[in-house]
């Protein structure tokens, strides 16, 4: 290795240490016997996991978040796929509006969206409702799902649908039987990303939370702000495991999709 690339490698690994350090610091603390957070953690205990799973408020928040995340995933996958398909199959003039609508919620800071929804939902009684959360989270997760689906859709040969229709299928059946199975892995991984985004979403949750129904991130925010107990590292461990599982699932789906498409090319 020449001096130049040695320098580059050294710099990059220092940066990676900066990236990974906080995560590797916080995860072991989940097993610490002390009630305050210190590094290195002392002793090994599963107490904080027990406390998390045994506390009805944490459990309620977790299920509440999971329910919202699952519904957000389904909503973005279905609504996003419909719109993307319509766009790719013809809505030339709507492309710009569509993109503006899609990008708007990414560009406009979440704080602005959260405050706007807070006002709107308070006036309509939607604050703290599953419906309100799902609508809000779908808005911010939509771009990720749509781009994942669009990537797959743009690589599907449109002649396949023509072929299906020449065999007697109508438009819907051509989509259902030909295009959808091909893009399904991407639709599902788009939904998975939406799930993670919703499950992890702190800002909107901060403003929309009702008195009783709080999402998991909202509970975590309060805990961090107030006393920061080792229950947070315990949740961090669980969330990291969840993220890794979802990422691996997405990678597996991508692998399957790629294998399908190569198989198609060969035949």
């Amino acid at each position: 290795m020449n001096p130049r690339s040695l320098l580059l490698n050294a710099y990059v690994y220092a940066v990676l240490a900066f990236i990974l350090l906080p995560i590797f610091i916080i995860l072991p603390m989940a097993f610490s016997e002390t009630t305050y957070l210190t590094f290195p953690p002392q002793g090994v205990t599963l107490r904080w996991f027990e406390e998390f799973f045994g506390d009805s408020r944490w459990m309620a928040a977790t299920w509440f978040s999971a329910k919202i995340a699952a519904l957000t995933a389904i909503t973005t996958a279905v609504v996003g796929t419909m719109a993307t398909y319509a766009l790719v199959r013809g809505a030339r003039t709507m492309g710009t509006i569509f993109q503006a609508f899609l990008i708007g919620p990414i560009v406009v800071p979440h704080i602005a969206l959260a405050v706007a929804l807070y006002l709107f939902f308070q006036n309509t009684g939607l604050s703290g409702t599953v419906f309100g959360y799902v609508a809000a989270h779908s808005i911010i997760a939509m771009p990720f799902t749509v781009f994942t689906v669009a990537a797959a859709l743009s690589s599907v040969d449109p002649a396949l649908e023509d072929a299906a229709m020449s065999c007697g299928a109508n438009r819907f059946n051509a989509f259902r039987l030909i295009t959808l199975p091909i893009i399904l892995p991407n639709v599902i991984s788009g939904g998975l990303f939406a799930f993670i985004i919703s499950f992890d979403e702190p800002v909107i949750a901060f403003f929309l939370a009702g008195i009783r129904d709080k999402t998991l991130p909202r509970m975590m925010f309060d805990d961090i702000e107030q006393n920061l107990t080792p229950i947070i590292p315990a949740i961090a461990v669980l969330l990291t495991v969840l993220s890794i599982v979802v990422l691996l699932a997405a990678a597996l789906l991508k692998y399957l999709a790629d294998r399908n498409s190569t198989a198609r090319e060969e035949t």
């Binding site: 809505a91 969206l113 808005i139 990720f144 800002v203």
Partner: protein, 288 residues
Amino acid sequence: MKAGFFEANGRQMSRGAILLLMAPFFALVIFAFLYPLGSLLSLSVLEPSPTLTNYERVFDNPIYATVLYRTLRMALLVSLLSLALSLPVAILMANSRGPKAVFLTACVLLPFWSSVLVRTAAWSILLQRNGLVNEFLQGIGITSEPLRLLYTQGAVVIAMTHVLMPFMVLPIYGALRNIPFDYNRAAAICGAGPLRSFWEVTLPLAMPGILGGFILVFLTALGYFITPSLLGSPQEMMIATLISQQIRENLDWPFAAALVGVLTLLVTIITLVFSKVFRFERMLGARA
């Protein structure tokens, strides 16, 4: 904005079918984005009667003007720091193959997909009075007693850089990966050494990705709420915390709406100015 990614292809559908398929999407955006944001912004100019006083307050009151200026300065700092940290990582990622490339990508993606709250909490633990950073600083003799690191602008900048860095790495990496290998060969045969070739060819060609990542980080940092709220000092607020405070403590909706208006106007202008280099699909595509 270019629609390349959504290029229409295949047999076109009827107008009715297109509208039907798009209706849920547009309904959702109108219901949960356009209408709420519009009615909030209308508060800022209509409350109590048509007026611009709420906006005048933002700029005339030195406290609020300072918050705005501080927010811009810190967002810029975070973006510059992210760039300095991200560019070499993206370069090494783009030039690596096999297990090393997988390892580097995993290192960048893992924090990307772990909770923002968790990462902020980690920094709060690291930076506390008896935290690891203070122990380290005392250990090597930089300071004899613990420094106040938490609840400072420095803590906010470092933690936000940590949280937003992947948004910089991925677009730059994507841009670098899209540069055909032959360009560097052509530069070499023309007489350019590796550094010259990087400076004259690679960097200009990766510029859209670099600029895109920079703008994305800058925009996100401008309106960032979580990290400044948890790690920042109440005396040195950023705009998002100020908005939250105006609503939750002062219940001053028209003024909060004006702050949101300023913030939204700012990001919209920046987005439109840089819309050419702003290819979201590329950035988000890289995320998967």
